[in-house]
């Protein structure tokens, strides 16, 4: 149906701010400018910047309308496997905005930030107890940044022994960040195949071990949503050749309070606070990726870190031992995420965190049980916190995993993770998390089953045309990549550039 405006009921078309702004307008007033002599020197700005001017009502409306074009965990299930979209408690948002936290400058005298350092220390304590690891590096800003931290610590430890090694073993099912991190640190990435059970092929793994192997990076539970049941043997094998075990903790949420990575032989593991401990994803960040470290790696932790002395807490910003791997970012870490994560942990407690991981696993297995007849599970048996299917249930239907996902959008659901992990053909990876009720899972499963039946009944065209009800439908990604338009340009300049 065509409308005069292009709007469709509550779906409002919204131009770019550059197309509605006008010169001379602003939504911010300041007191009159005091007279002063310029100290800007010869670099004072002469030309205009080109920013649009809007008044506050226009700005509020613009971003409100944009927000309404997004799906969110606040609206319904967001079953992106590996991404862990769970409820974001609003208490955490309130706490991070408290005076005394939100308005703390990172370089205030240490005597004026004792509460903040105590908070970081408390969070560190929780992380160490939950993982049974002796140390934790708080600065990394996200999971991938944590991976860098861990691999740099391993590299430092090896170099301290005069033992430069070249290879890092990475399972084929790993997140792309693992090989990217290892390669960034100068290591050759040696892929390890998965076995028929979706786990690391332990024989292949052992065959690749040698004196030049620095480490392995293994996700556990792995990206197929399965617990690596040979994990202790894998850890022993890597330690046996003098290498280190880096665990990608992206899926720690499945085992919190039930399995401690320190008991498995892990040397380093990042914890995505934005996954396991529910700091909001915010459309792609910010995150936080503290890294727990074994005693062997702890001396190489990045600066800064908090220590508790007789005078209270202090912050070590310069490691005089010369062992630290260095500084990874400005200041002390993602404090805003620390506060949220600690609130989440304290609210759940030791008992609630254990219940939450159990419920996440229960929800995934319930979904698997509801869907296994109609879809095609990638592996037999139960799983951990995710339900993974391949696309063989769509064989002969002419419907691809992508088409199926787009049809889910019309039904009001955000699709699951698609085409990952790479070791499963046309993968559909669903992670319901503990935040879904049974009723919510039943509705979701009913919808998936109905869609699968529709695909099998030969209604291919409905899938190829999906989504039909969204603000935009199937965007042309090829055109976007062939001739990238990465910013707005004024119409005149844009014409000249043609």
């Amino acid at each position: 149906m065509k409308t005069v405006t292009g709007n469709r009921g509550l779906q409002i078309e919204e131009p770019l701010i550059f197309e509605v702004g006008e010169e001379g307008r602003s939504a911010v007033d300041l007191p009159p400018l005091p007279a002063h002599e310029s100290r800007l020197g010869s670099c004072a700005r002469k030309g205009s910047i080109g920013l649009p001017g809007l008044a506050e009502p226009q700005v509020v409306r613009h971003y409100t309308i944009l927000s309404q074009k997004n799906y969110a965990i606040d609206m319904g299930p967001y079953p992106l496997g590996s991404c862990t979209m769970k409820h974001n408690p609003r208490l955490n948002e309130k706490m991070v905005r408290l005076p005394g936290l939100a308005d703390l400058h990172p370089l205030q005298p240490i005597s004026t930030v004792q509460g903040a350092l105590a908070l970081i220390d408390t969070l560190a304590h929780w992380l160490k107890v939950l993982t049974n690891m002796p140390a934790v590096a708080m600065p990394p800003a996200a999971g991938a940044h944590g991976e860098l931290c861990g691999i740099m610590a391993i590299r430092s430890a090896l170099l301290a022994k005069g033992d430069a090694r070249r290879r890092i073993l990475v399972p084929e099912s790993a997140h792309g960040t693992n090989p990217a991190t290892a390669a960034a640190c100068g290591y050759v990435v040696d892929p390890v195949p998965a076995d028929a059970r979706g786990r690391v092929d332990i024989d292949a793994f052992k065959a690749k071990l040698g004196p030049d192997v620095a480490a392995t990076m293994i996700t556990n539970p792995n990206t197929c949503g399965l617990f690596e049941n040979d994990i202790v043997a894998l850890a022993e094998a890597i330690h046996g050749i003098g290498g280190y075990f880096y665990c990608d903790g992206a899926n720690f949420n499945a085992i919190v309070g039930r399995v401690r990575p320190g008991d498995l032989g892990v040397d380093a593991m990042h914890i995505n606070l934005h996954k396991t401990f529910s700091t909001p994803h915010g459309g792609g960040g910010p995150g936080a990726g503290p890294v727990v470290l074994s005693a062997a790696l702890a001396p190489y932790a990045p600066v800064p870190y908090v220590v508790h002395g007789e005078q209270g807490f202090t912050l070590v910003e310069h490691d005089e031992s010369g062992q630290t791997l260095g500084r990874m970012k400005a200041f002390h870490g993602q404090m805003g995420m620390f506060i949220r994560a600690l609130c989440f942990m304290m609210s759940h407690g030791a008992d609630g965190l254990r219940q939450a991981s159990g419920d996440a696993v229960l929800n995934a297995n319930y979904l698997l049980a509801r869907l296994k007849e109609e879809l095609s599970p990638a592996f037999p048996g139960t799983s951990m916190h995710e339900a993974l299917f391949d696309d063989s249930f769509l064989d002969g239907t002419g419907v691809s995993t992508l088409d199926f996902a787009k049809a889910m959008i019309d039904e009001g659901y955000h699709p699951m993770t698609m085409y990952f992990p790479l070791v499963v053909r046309g993968a559909l990876l669903m992670e319901p998390t503990e935040s879904e009720s049974k009723g919510s899972l039943d509705s979701f499963a009913d919808t998936i089953i109905a869609l699968a039946r529709r695909a099998k009944a030969g209604d291919k065209d409905a899938f190829l045309a999906a989504p039909r009800l969204t603000p935009r439908r199937r965007l042309d990604e090829t055109a976007a990549a062939r001739k990238p338009v990465l910013r707005w340009r004024p119409p005149v300049a844009a014409e000249a550039a043609e």
Partner: protein, 123 residues
């Protein structure tokens, strides 16, 4: 005559110069090609080593040199229109011209019918 590699490159020799590209099978597997990174003319390349990169929206693949030699020229038309690789992979969608170091290397490659059989075996 056109010869093929197992990595789906083709090479056609004309005198001392060989033209190199990717096969129809390769372009079909990749989908819409959005970017091609070509070597600098004058560069020495070795058979089996990375020569170019071809990208679709969701994948990036290395293109390996099917034969050793020196890059004489590259297909400038691809920088303006990468869809040539999809539309005409064996013609206008060529990648590089190489002055061949050792013609004997061609003997190790597959001919048209062997390559066709090889691709069928991949399904």
């Amino acid at each position: 005559m056109r010869k093929y590699t197992k990595d789906h490159e083709w090479v056609a020799l004309d005198g001392e110069t060989a033209t190199v590209g990717i096969s129809d099978y390769a372009q079909e597997q990749l989908g819409d090609v959005v970017f091609v990174e070509l070597p600098e003319p004058g560069k020495d390349i070795k058979k089996g080593k990375e020569m170019a990169v071809v990208e679709s929206v969701k994948a990036a693949s290395e293109v390996y040199a099917p034969i050793s030699g020196k890059v004489v020229s590259v297909n400038e038309a691809l920088s303006a229109d990468t869809s040539l690789v999809n539309k005409d992979p064996l013609g206008q969608g060529w990648f590089t011209k190489i002055s061949v170091a050792d013609k004997a290397e061609l003997a190790e490659l597959m001919d048209e019918s062997a390559y066709k059989a090889y691709c069928e075996g991949l399904h």
